[in-house]
Amino acid sequence: MAGKTIIKAVLRREFLLSVRNASASLNGVWFFVLVCGLFAIGIGPDKEQLGGLAPGLIWVTALLAVMLSVDALFRHDYADGSLEQLLLAAHSLYFLVLARLMAQALLIAVPLALVSPLLALMLGMKAAGLPVLILSLLLGVPTLVMIGAIGAALTVGFERGGLLLALLVLPLYVPVLIFAAAAVVSAADGYTYAGQLMILAAQFVLAVALSPLAVVAGLRLNYYH
């Protein structure tokens, strides 16, 4: 178990770096907004059609935005040597990495969840789906970040790991996408959605508990050459 002060130090560093590099941190949100806007233009003004597609469109776009953000998760620290020092820390790496992933999950999920109602309204989604959309993003995006971090840890040593990351991670994203989009569709149509959200929550718990193990192992592999 790692001490409180080191966990605090990890969180402080993540938030500080995210604020200092705000333009890079907000890349994912820009992508999210722009692509949803393009869908609205591309599909046309038919409100019925757009509204029906909206939950799926928003979730697919959010998923791609997360992948975009996750690619940079360890890249900086690998390049400047900070990652070596993190791996040599005299603390349990599981908790250090967990703290870091939680901070990143928050930093990625909250902005996406905040802008999502606007995008949903723009795409003509039924208002009944809005709270569930926000909730599904807050539950599902952290799961995506945790899973994506495994891919990011494995590919950080490759200069252009982006495509490889997508290949590794996208199949694992599918279950989250299925249940998250289904929850929003059900809510928008006035059906019950509790089951889908519970499965999302279960996926989140599983990802939080297990992904730090895989991330630590993946990061270590980069130094075996």
């Binding site: 130090a9 900086h76 400047d80 040597g81 900070s82 070596e84 040599l88 820390a89």
Partner: protein
């Protein structure tokens, strides 16, 4: 006391070390010498515990006599300090923020000690400047300030003189001299002649 026994390690189907042995005790300065690609950095990474794909044993014991005094991996990380090619200095943080973070990972210190260390490395004026405004040599000094804040017994320094000016080189010589006088061990690689240091043991790879 650091002990390496029968270390074998291969990289890309090439045998870097075959039955490599090294024992060093308190007060030793060990210079690992070898041509480019001879495995100097790999050896230091293995010592630090960063690379674990080798056979043989690397152990650190508190005393030479008791075989049972071998320390745990976590304890070893607190006792050792590894400085790689890259300085581990984040460009978006100030020297003080960087130093506080790096010490937090092994042995936390209070801010006043970190500030004193930066001043000793002649970084007193740039404490609050973002590191991307600093030169390569100044960034290296930020990394080296850790030597002053962390009470490590074993220093593992991979090309620590890179980018340092002559005053910086002298300063680092003093730090190394001080460390071994206190009974510490320093293992380092460099392409500069270590004329300013007395009692360097050379290990040829």
């Amino acid at each position: 006391m650091l002990e390496i026994r029968e270390l074998c390690c291969e990289r890309g189907e090439r045998l870097l070390f075959d039955q490599f042995n090294l024992v060093c005790g308190p007060g030793d300065i060990i210079e690992i010498r070898g041509a480019n690609g001879s495995g100097k950095s790999t050896l230091l990474r293995i010592l630090a515990g960063l690379a674990q794909d080798y056979s043989g044993t690397v152990s650190w014991r508190e005393s030479a006599k008791q075989a049972s005094s071998e320390v745990s991996p976590i304890e070893f990380r607190r006792l050792s300090l590894y400085l790689g090619h890259a300085s581990a200095v984040n460009a978006s943080l100030t020297p003080l923020e960087n130093l506080m973070w790096l010490t937090e990972l092994t042995t936390p210190v209070d801010e006043s000690r970190a500030i004193a260390a930066l001043q000793q490395m002649q970084l007193g004026e740039c404490e609050d400047v973002f590191c991307h405004h600093l030169s390569a040599g100044q960034q290296r000094r930020v990394a080296l300030a850790r030597l002053l804040t962390v009470d490590a017994r074993l220093w593992i320094l991979d090309e620590p003189f890179t980018a340092l000016d002559s005053a910086g080189v002298d300063l680092l010589h003093q730090l190394i001299q001080h460390q071994v006088r206190d009974g510490g061990v320093v293992v380092l690689t460099t392409h500069l002649p270590l004329t300013g240091l007395a009692g360097v043991k050379v290990v040829q790879l």
